[in-house]
Each structure stands twice: as C-alpha cells, then as structure tokens.
C-alpha cells in the first residue's frame, strides 16, 4: 500500500488541508502543536475508523478529541494504491459515521464489496494490507521515541520475545500470564492461608462447625424443653393432687377438730351436770365394793344354808317317818338287832347241822333236846362273848359287859351238859352232838325271838329276815346320819344369818358416812362423781391435742377449715390426717424434685440458649461465604483456563512464528550491517544473541546503541513484511522516533530508513529540523512536508 494523498476537511486542528505523499520516505516536519499527532490519527482513522474496539458501533474516545474546533465537517479523503496498481479513494465522515470506498480510476463504489464488522466498519484496510487496526497500531505505527527509548539489548530482546510469543511486539504473553497469575494469587488457594479463598474456606469451615455445634445444642435444648414441658404437665397433675390432698387433709382435720370440739363440749356439759358430785366421797367406793360383794355373798350363803338346813331336816324326817316307831329303839337294842342276821345265819347252820345229824342217827337214839340244848348254850355263850367284846369296843361297856357275862354263862352251861366221851361212843357222841346243837339252836332262837320282838312277829316270817334286819339297820343309820346332818345344817344357816347381819350393819355405817340413804343413791352418787372425774380427766387429756386453743379458737379454726374444704363431703375418704399428711409430704417431695429438675433444665436451657448464636444468621453467613467461595473458585477456574489456553497458543505461536521472524530479521540485520551480523536468537533468559564476525555469538546487549537501533528497525520491517498480506508492503508510520538520539545516531537511523524506503513507503513525522538536515546531508530521496505551511511541501527527491 502506498498512500498517495490526504485531504482533511476537518480533523482536530487541521482544517481543509491537503497532503500529497511520495512513494518512499515522506518527512513531515513541524514544531510541536503543528498537528503531527492529529495527522497520524487522521491517517489511522481514515483506514480503520474511529470506533471503540469491541462489538458495538460506538465511538472511541479520540472521536471527541479530534472533533474539529471550528465546526467544519468532521471528515476527510485518503487515496492509496496497492502493489498491484489498483488505486482507491476513501471518503470518510467521522460525524456522522460513514465511509465509502471508491475505485479511484473507475469511480465505482466498492464499499459493498468489503466485509463490515459488527461495529458497521468496513474492513477494506485489513483486507488490503492484512493488518487489523490493532495489528496496524502495534506493527506499522511506531510511536514517539519508540526506537530511541530502547533501553538496550534486553528491551529489544523482550520485544522480540513478545513477537515470538504473541506475534505482536507490544503484546507480552509472559506479562499477561504474570497478570493472570497475580489475579489467581490475589484469590489464592487452599494452601495460601492469608489469601481470600483460603480465608473464606477456613471461615466457612469454622462457621459450618459453629452451626453444627449450635444445631446440636439446639437439638439438646429441644430435648430439654420437651422434658420441661413434660415436667410442667406432671407438675400440673401433682399440683392438682396436692390441692386435692390439701382439701382432703383440711376435711380430715375438720373432721377431727369437730370431733374434738364435740368431745370438749361433751366433757364440759358433763362437768356442768355433775358439778354437785365433784366432792362425793368416791374413795368410799373402795370399801363399798368389798362390802357389797360380801353382802351379796352373805345373802347368798344365808339363803343357801337355810335351804340346806331345811333340806336336811326334811330328809331326817323322811327317814324317821320310814322307821316309824323303830326309831325309838334304844341303842342297845339296835346293837343287838345288829347281831340278828348273824344269829339267824347261825340258827340256819345249826338247823342244817342238826338235820344232817338226825339224818345219820335216828332221833330215838339221840336225845335231841339235851344235845340241842347244850349246843345252843355253847353257841349262845360264844356269841355273847363276841357281842360283849364288840360293845366294849363300841364304848358301850354296860351292854358289853352284860353280853359278855351272858356268854360266859352259856359256855359254862355248855361245859356242864357235854356228853361223856366214854358213853357209847358213836351214838352217844351223836346224841350229845344233837343235843348240843339243839341247845344251841334253842338259845339262838330265843335270842332271835327276843330281838325279833321289837320288830313284830311278821318280821321273822318274811322270806329274808336277815336282809330285812340289815335294811332296817341301814335305814336306822341313815336316819341317824340325816338327823345329824340336819342339825349341822341348821347350825350353819344360823352362822350365815349372823354374818349377813354383820355386813348389813357395816354397810349401813358406810351409807351414813356417804350421806346417802340407801345403796342405790350411793351407787348413783359414785357414778356421777366418776362421770365428773372422767369428764375432767378427758378434758385434761385433750389439752395436748388442743394445744392451748380455746373453744373459740377451735370454732374459728373449724370455720376456716370449712371454708378451705368448701362444699362437698370429704369426710368419707376415711384417710387420717396423718396418712394424708404423709401423702402430701410425698407429693410435695415429688413436686419439689420435679421443680428442682425443671429449674435445672431451665438453667441449662438458659445457659445453652444464651451461648447459641442465631443459627439463621450463621446459615446466612455460610451461604454468603459459600457464594463468595464458589465465585472465587469459578474465577480461578476461568483464570486457569485463560492461562492454559494462552500458554498453548503462545507456544504454538512461538513454534510457528519465531523461526520465521528470526530468519527474516537475520537477513535484514545482515543486510543492514553489511554482513557483520546475521541470525538473531532470543534464548530462554531473554538474552538476544547474534552471530558476529568470526562466527562468534554475541549478546546484542553488548553491541552499540546504534547497532541495537538497527536491529530494532530491522525487527519492525521484518515484522511488517511477515504480517502483511502477500506481496503488499505496508507503510511505516514513525512519530518523531529519534528525539533522544544524538546526531550521529539520527544519521545512522535515517540512512537505514532511506534504504528501506526503497521498498516501502515511510511516513516520518518530526519536529526536529536536525532530522531534515540529516536527510539533506545524507542526500536521501524524501518527500518533505512542512506542517506549519511555510514553505509548502518540498520534494527532496525531485
């Protein structure tokens, strides 16, 4: 591309200015504020427009900066020609934004043939020279002092490195990576505890743990609260129970007090009633009681003894009646009657013996009477001795003696009549025996007849006269005994009567002492006095229960209890106050225990609750921190992605672009230095090296400043060639590049530009007359334009 002319209708300070440009070196000379910068921006603006870099149709800041001051139209015209000879005219209005591209020869509007970007900008320049606005600005436009300000080989090496990595001299991948790394570092990582990410993570962890603990405590507190609620329900039940028990207790106490009151009243009533007997000699009752007992006993004994005497008398009389006249028999007779059975038995024996004897000896041979008489005498004598002995024994000496004598007489008689043994022995003996027996029998029968005389003749005629005698004697003895008994009973009855009389006399004395008339009155007095004493004792025994309460106190207390108990009958529960009090104590103990537990729970809850942070607030903070952390992690991920892709593409760029650049630059350097140096390389440590004379590798930093400038200019040219569209040289726009150069270096640089201007258009804008002079001295072909307008353009090449 070669720019052929510029027409500025209005752009910044430049108004209605027209510039014709030459094909090689164009030198724009003017002092400061002459419009050099304006001209450069006009040139770039004409090619690329004045919009922001971005996706919208929006004016860039310089749009306002270069709006014409005088209000003339903000527009211009630029004509250029490409290497293939085609010429174009660009007509651009900066306000309103409009651009048209014309074929400078045919006048055809070529605008529709160019691509338009989203900013509505036609990409004709990019199409023709292969450089975007950004590329043009960074490659073809060398800013003020750019060359002269190179700080040496290191900076140049950096720029070359940039180129190698990014394709743009000003675009540093390394710096970009460093910036990205700095951004990432600012966020930090989990391993950098002072950085926001780790801080957020740590804080998040702490808050999460805090929330966990708080929730745990809340759960515990909920448990305690549930227990407290349960206890409250239990307490309510216990309180009801307590109330019920208290009422029942009051009822029981009321019942008891009412009983007490009744007792007191009863005692007092008794005391009032029996007051007259307060001094009654109750001590007499100690005497009275045995007396009364004795009296009763004496009365009974007297009665009983009298009755017994009567009974004995009647018995004696009955026996007497049975004996009839026999009872008047003398003792002697009776004693003799006593021997009657023996006599009868003896008589019967004698009779049997006699009968036997007669059976053996006929009666004729045996004088029965003599024998019988003798025998009876002997027997009678014997018996008489026996009876006499008995009577003597029975203290009846007279009778005994008489009987004894009779016996002795009998024996004597028997001795006199005894048969002679020397009589015919057998018969005589037998006869003698018979006679003896007969005699005994006769004596005996005489005795019997005598005795039986008292009994009457029929007596012996009975079948068992012995038995009858025995019976008679028995009854005689019974009568005698009954008679004796009757007499004894009569004596005893008499004794009892006397005892009774004595007791009655003593009792009469006692009653007189008591001042009563009779026993009933005495007993009543004793009872009343005792009732009085009893009431008094009862009242005294109630004293501990009353505990000093008067009857009025008691009544008042009862009234209070009645009010406490209220309506309803509670007395039927049957529980004693003591039992109820025990139950109440138990209930109260349970109440106290539960209340203590509840109190403890409340304390626990209060303590725990006071220490619990508001979990909702914790959750809010956690969420906020979580969001922050996610945002940071997302940012880190984005940074990481940017770093990775940037690294990848830089490596790719370096791989493809760097060798080409090195080759192009090496060739240029060789050309520029007349073959002294060739090849340029940037090593890993950013050291720029070249191969110098004798194939020696030389660090560019060690070269002279002029040589470095040559290298840099070579770099720019090489770059321009590399990025330009195929075969299309791009104009080089230099803005006062040599301000810091000394004259010598200016001459070197200009000489170099002169060389390069042979193949491309170079627009050098300078405020240095020195540059112009150098061009003239070097005799370089150049198109010189004075921006201040005096004198007008001078074409040195012409």
């Amino acid at each position: 591309m070669r720019i052929e002319s510029l027409f500025i209708e209005g752009f910044g300070r430049l108004v209605d200015r027209r510039f014709e440009l030459g094909p090689g070196l164009n030198l724009f000379v003017g002092p400061n504020e002459a419009g050099k910068s304006t001209l450069q921006h006009f040139l770039v603006g004409m090619l690329y427009g004045q919009k922001r870099r971005g996706a919208r149709r929006e004016a860039a800041p310089e749009h306002g900066r270069f709006r014409p001051w005088s209000g003339v139209p903000y527009r211009g015209v630029l004509s250029y020609r490409l290497a293939d000879g085609r010429a174009y005219r660009v007509e651009r209005s900066f306000e309103p934004d409009r651009v048209q591209i014309w074929d400078a020869v045919t006048g055809e509007d070529l605008s529709p043939t160019f691509t338009m970007d989203r900013r509505k900008e036609l990409l004709f320049a990019e199409t023709h020279i292969g450089l975007s606005e950004e590329g043009f600005r960074s490659t073809a436009w060398v800013g003020q002092g750019a060359i002269g300000h190179l700080a040496g080989g290191a900076e140049l090496a950096g720029r070359i490195a940039n180129l190698q990595e990014s394709g743009q001299e000003e675009l540093s991948v390394r710096a970009a990576q460093e910036w990205l790394a700095a951004q990432a570092k600012q966020i930090g990582s989990d391993r950098a505890p002072t950085r926001p990410l780790a801080k957020a993570a740590k804080q998040l962890q702490e808050l999460t743990e805090q929330l966990g603990r708080a929730e745990q405590v809340m759960e515990e507190v909920r448990g305690w609260e549930a227990e407290a609620t349960e206890i409250a329900a239990i307490l309510a039940g216990l309180a009801e129970e307590e109330e019920s028990l208290e009422r029942r207790l009051a009822g029981a106490r009321l019942e008891r007090l009412e009983g007490l009151q009744a007792q007191v009243e009863a005692c007092e009533a008794t005391l009032a009633q029996q007051a007259a007997y307060a001094a009654f000699p109750t001590h007499l009752s100690t005497r009275f009681e045995p007396l009364a007992t004795e009296l009763r006993w004496a009365e009974t004994a007297s009665t009983e003894r009298s009755e017994a005497a009567g009974r004995a008398r009647r018995e004696a009389e009955r026996f007497a009646e049975e004996l009839g006249t026999l009872r008047h028999l003398s003792a002697e007779r009776l004693q003799r009657l006593g021997s009657l059975p023996a006599l009868l038995a003896e008589r019967d024996r004698l009779r049997r013996n006699l009968s036997e004897l007669r059976a053996r000896i006929p009666e004729a041979t045996i004088p029965q009477e003599s024998g019988k008489g003798k025998g009876l005498i002997m027997i009678g004598g014997g018996l008489a001795i026996l009876v006499a002995a008995f009577m003597l024994g029975m203290e009846r000496p007279v009778v005994g003696l008489a009987v004894g004598l009779a016996g002795l007489l009998g024996l004597w008689l028997w001795q006199q009549k005894r048969p002679d043994a020397k009589a015919p022995v057998a018969a005589e003996t037998e006869r003698l025996q018979r006679e003896g027996l007969q005699a005994q029998l006769s004596s005996l029968e005489a005795q019997i007849g005598d005795l039986a005389g008292d009994l009457g003749p029929a007596f012996l005629a009975g079948p068992d006269p012995a038995g009858a005698v025995q019976d008679l004697l028995g009854r005689q003895r019974a009568w005698t005994a009954a008679e004796a008994e009757a007499q004894e009973a009569a004596l005893k009855a008499e004794g009892a009567r006397r005892s009774l009389a004595a007791v009655q006399a003593e009792l009469a004395d006692l009653l007189a002492e008591a001042g009563v008339v009779d026993l009933t009155e005495f007993q009543a007095g004793i009872e009343r006095a005792r009732a009085y004493q009893e009431a008094k004792r009862a009242l005294a025994s109630l004293a501990p229960v009353l505990e000093g309460r008067s009857a009025a106190d008691l009544a008042e207390e009862i009234a209070l209890l009645r009010a406490r108990v209220g309506p309803g009958d509670l007395s039927s529960t049957g529980d004693s106050p003591e039992a109820l009090e025990a139950s109440l104590r138990q209930i109260r103990q349970r109440l106290a225990d539960r209340m203590a537990r509840q109190e403890r729970l409340r304390g626990q809850i209060e303590t725990a609750t006071g220490a619990i942070p508001e979990t909702a607030e914790l959750a809010r903070q956690i969420a906020a921190l979580g969001e922050q952390r996610i945002a940071m992690e997302e940012e880190l991920a984005a940074i990481g992605l940017a770093q990775q892709v940037l690294g990848d593409v830089a490596e790719e760029m370096h791989r493809e672009f760097a060798p080409r650049l090195a080759r192009a630059m090496g060739a240029l350097v060789e050309q520029l230095t007349g073959g002294r140096y060739n090849q340029v390389r940037v090593d890993e440590s950013l050291d720029l090296r070249t191969i110098g004379p004798a194939e020696r590798i030389v660090s560019v930093g060690a070269l002279s400043a002029g040589t470095i400038d040559q290298f840099y200019l070579g770099l720019r040219i090489a770059l321009l060639d590399m990025v330009a569209a195929e075969g299309e040289p791009i104009p080089l726009l230099l803005d006062d590049p040599f301000v810091s150069y000394d004259d010598e270096r200016v001459r070197h640089a200009l000489a170099l530009l002169g060389e390069w201007a042979k193949e491309r258009q170079i627009l050098l804008l300078t405020c240095q007359e020195r540059d112009l002079r150098a061009v003239q001295e070097l005799n370089l072909p150049a198109h010189v334009i004075r921006l201040d307008g005096s004198p007008l353009e001078v074409d040195l090449s012409l």
Binding site: R52, R53, G54, A55, R56, E58, D117, R118, G130, S132, E134, G135, G158, N162, E165, S166, G167, E170, L171, S172, V173, R174, A175, A176, Q177, E178, W179, L180, Q183, M218, E219, V221, R222, G223, E225, A226, T229, E230, A232, A233, I612, E614, A616, E617, A619, R620, A623, A624, E634, E635, A638, L641, A642, V645, L646, V649, A650, E652, M653, L686
Partner: protein, 377 residues
Amino acid sequence: MTFTFLQMADLHLAWPFTGLPERLSRLRRAELRAALVRLVDLVLAERVSLVLIAGDLYEHTHADRPLAAFVAEQLGRLDPVPVLVSPGNHDPLLPGSYWETFPWPPNVQIFGPTPERIDLDELNLTVWGWGFGAWEVHDFQLGGVRRAPGRVNLGLFHGGGAPYHPFGAAELEALGLDYTAIGHIHKPGPITGRDGRLLAWYSGSPEPLSFGEPGEHGVILGRVEPGEPPFGDKGRSTVTCRFLPLASRSCLTRAVDLTGINGPEAAAARIGAAFTDEERRRDLCRAQLSGRIDPALTLDGTMIEEMLASAFLLLRVEDQTEPDWDLEAIAREKSVRGLFVERLQRLAAGADAHEAARIRRALHLGLTALAKGEGSR
C-alpha cells in the same frame, strides 16, 4: 352451612434470608413474624371459621422456643377458631420437634405422618390431612383417602415434587375432595381438574423469601357452600377462593442495560432510574446489568451497591454485562491474541451454559491480561 376459611403456607419463620445483609435479614425475619400477626388479625376481622396451614410455618433448624411460644400465642388468639396444621418439609413433625412437644393452644390440631381425618361437626366438615414426619417423603401419601359422605370434605397437606411428597392434578382429582389446601410452592396459584373444576390452591408464601419469588404474596380466603344434603360423591360443595395480598415488601428484579456507559456513576444512574422512589424505599431490588461495555471499564457490583445504598432499602447488583471485545476482529489477528480468542470461541461452541460462562470469563480475563501486558517486557 356456608363458612369461610383462611389458607396459608410457607411462612418459613426464622428463614435465614441468605442473600441479604445481616441487618436486613434480621428485619425480614421480624417481618415474617409480623406477617403472622397480620394474618391472625385478618382471620379475626373477617370472622373466618377455620384456618388451614399447609406446612412450612417455620424453619425447624433455626426455630427456638421463643419462636414456638410466639406462634402458639398468635394461633391461640384465634381460639375457638380451629387451626389445622400440616407440617411441611421445613418443619416436619420429627421426634422432639415443637409440633410434638410444645403445648399448643387447644384450637390447634396438627396432622401427623399418617393420613387422618379431623371432623369439625359444627361445620359439618371433614378435613383430610397429612404432615411430613421426615425431611423427605418420596411417595404420595393420601391415595387411600375416601370422602366422608354427607359432609364437606377438604384436604390439607404439603408437597408437590420429588422428593417432597410428589403429586399432581391427577392425584388431587382422584381424592374426590371438595377442595385441597396445599403448600410448598411459594408462588400462589390454583390447580384445576380436567373439567376445569378448582381442585386446590397453592397459597404461596405470605412474604417473598428471595428474589426467586417475584410478584404478589399473601394468603387464600376460601368460601365453602355445601351442596344440598345428602351430598355424596357427585353432590360436591362449592368452594371459591380469593387471593389476598399480604406481603409487606416485594422482591423486584429489573434488567438494566448499561451499554454505552462510561463509568460506574452512569451505571448507578441507570440502575436508580430503573426503580420508582417507592420501590427503592420499600422493596428489595435487584438490578441485573446487561449490555456490552468497554472491556477497560471495570464494573464492581458491590461498589455500585454501596454508591446507591442510601437510595435503596436493598439493592442487589448482578453484573451480566459483556465486555465489548470485538472478538471477530481479534480472532482475525495474526497474533497470540487472535489465536487465544479463536481457540476459546471454538471451546465455547460445544460447552454447556456453565462452561460457556466460564469460557467467556476466561476470554475476558485473557484479553484483559494481554491488554495489561501490552507494552511490557
């Protein structure tokens, strides 16, 4: 007997309000409590016969005893108006939960995790209900419910999507109830059957809980006109519902295009203008920034929020602006930058939304880094 009921759900007392600063989150928690007070006042003023609470009345995790006492006090003010509660997935009837342990007033009845009916004979009403007994419930629980003949039949429960007791209109229709009060979805709205009959309402949250809950929030006031007895399966009662806005504030989200701005002041001005004075003063405002802005212009949402802090009760700025890079042009550059853009654009072509956002960010960061690195070395 015709009667009215009030349906509410999803008050979420003790909600953490995670998107808000501490001061405002506390304020909003206080306003949730105030909403319950207003709601009770409304019931008393309207002489409503029945209150149905369809879950998530409070946050189990954050609720404490004073909060439970406050709820009990408010619901107790309604006595003798029956208050039926179906615990939700945020306030499930867990062992030891306040639903289980707190001494609730006698007019409050709480449904448990087994479907059951509560008969209110004075209204000739049977309410079929069920409550969460766990954090998640994967199946619909009321399949076995059969309407009680000769009575008004209402339903009360919480849920709507897995794993929170899933059901849909078909399940509600199958219940055959006159109406069902449901909670879980915070946006109020009715559910109708195939024949267009009203089946249920989500009453929504009485107060919005986040910017995800725009629009009006409140409760449902329902009116039941029983059918002529005996009304069996076919003679259903007529239930009409009216939505009553109750929220003290709204959550507003406005898109603000910042294209062409030249600095944060201009951005703040545009954001401020997107809301009315009343909205700024009363509501929770969120500005979603859009448009393409100069890549060199750093927009800091937090800084803009602070700039406008005095003008708003709450302003949340979400920066969704795009740096105005001419990526097409850059991609054409024969440089590492061109390659970088071209490479990332290729990556973005096959990426999901999340990845694409990350790539866009990487693109911006990389270009910014390269721009920062310009002139370096």
